[in-house]
């Protein structure tokens, strides 16, 4: 039983760490900010999630105590990650859309239809 659990723990740790690395690799490798945004916010959530899960299994198996408070970290991350992504996205839209950042990647200037529809660019006066 412990064997299996240990295997699970090890696998989860490695998987989690692996996802973290892949996410960070994505951050380095992907071509533009909007695409890079995908890497870390996801891979790291599962990355951290895996390690947290490992921790949650580890404690009852090895120390004889149940711990669930790792869940709290997950909760906070799940609240925080989308907000961060959203805010970074907005900031990026804003700066690219207003020609502040010189990097023309992401097609934002060309690709974003009807620039004045979005909260970042316009204020709904209605």
């Amino acid at each position: 039983m412990t064997q299996i659990a240990d295997f699970a723990i090890a696998a989860l740790i490695l998987a989690g760490a692996g996802f973290a690395l892949v996410g960070s690799w994505g951050l380095v490798r992907l071509p533009s900010l909007m695409t890079r945004l995908h890497g870390p916010t996801k891979a790291t959530t599962l990355g951290v999630g895996g390690i947290l899960l490992a921790s949650m299994i580890y404690w009852p198996v090895h120390e004889g105590r149940y711990t669930v408070h790792e869940l709290l970290i997950t909760i906070f991350l799940f609240i925080a990650a989308p907000i961060t992504a959203n805010m970074i996205g907005k900031a990026h839209l804003h700066r690219q859309g207003n020609y502040i950042d010189p990097n023309p990647a992401d097609d934002i200037r060309e690709g974003l239809p009807e620039r004045d529809r979005w909260a970042t660019f316009t204020r709904d006066e209605s």
Binding site: W25, L37, H38, K42, P82, D107
Partner: protein
């Protein structure tokens, strides 16, 4: 009376659970403390959250949660695969515009959060009128289909949770 004591019943419940998780033990002590927390904390925070979301508790929530978790796991692998293998020029990243049916801020946020958490998509902005969501997708074949999938898979369930 009850209303005054629990301005946010949902929140109170969440906080109680939260406390028990924090204390990491299920004992009378922690449960009583959880009760206190559930009462006291919302009293303090309710001015900052006046417009309470209208929620429906039940299976819908759990189902939604499970679906999202599953999607996170699955999509994580997809994105990992993309990151590791796809070349930049093969990447079909695109902007998706999702018209919204839900209109409570909490619901929109939940939807946007879900979209962001599930890999491959990031919600970047809300429209100025609040009825559309701007989503960036890392690699998508058919935009309309992606939009439809999001609406069906998440938004539909959310409308059941948020009255």
């Amino acid at each position: 009376m009850i209303r005054n004591l629990f301005p946010h019943p949902g929140l109170s419940g969440l906080l109680a659970v939260f406390w028990v998780l924090l204390a990491n033990s299920v004992s009378w002590g922690s449960i009583i403390m959880a009760g206190i927390v559930a009462v006291v904390v919302p009293l303090f925070t309710s001015p900052y959250w006046r417009e309470k979301p209208r929620l429906r508790f039940g299976w819908a929530m759990l189902e939604y949660l499970l679906v999202v978790l599953w999607d996170i796991v699955v999509a994580n692998f997809e994105v990992a695969w993309i990151i590791l293998t796809k070349r930049d020029r093969d990447l079909r990243s695109a902007w998706l515009v999702i018209p919204l049916d839900v209109n409570q801020p909490e619901a929109i946020t939940a939807l946007a959060g879900t979209i962001s958490l599930t890999p491959g998509t990031v919600s970047a902005d809300v429209s100025a009128c609040g009825r559309m969501l701007l989503v960036h997708a890392l690699d998508v074949g058919d935009r309309d289909e992606a939009v439809a999938r999001i609406k069906a898979r998440y938004e539909a369930r959310l409308t059941r949770i948020f009255r």
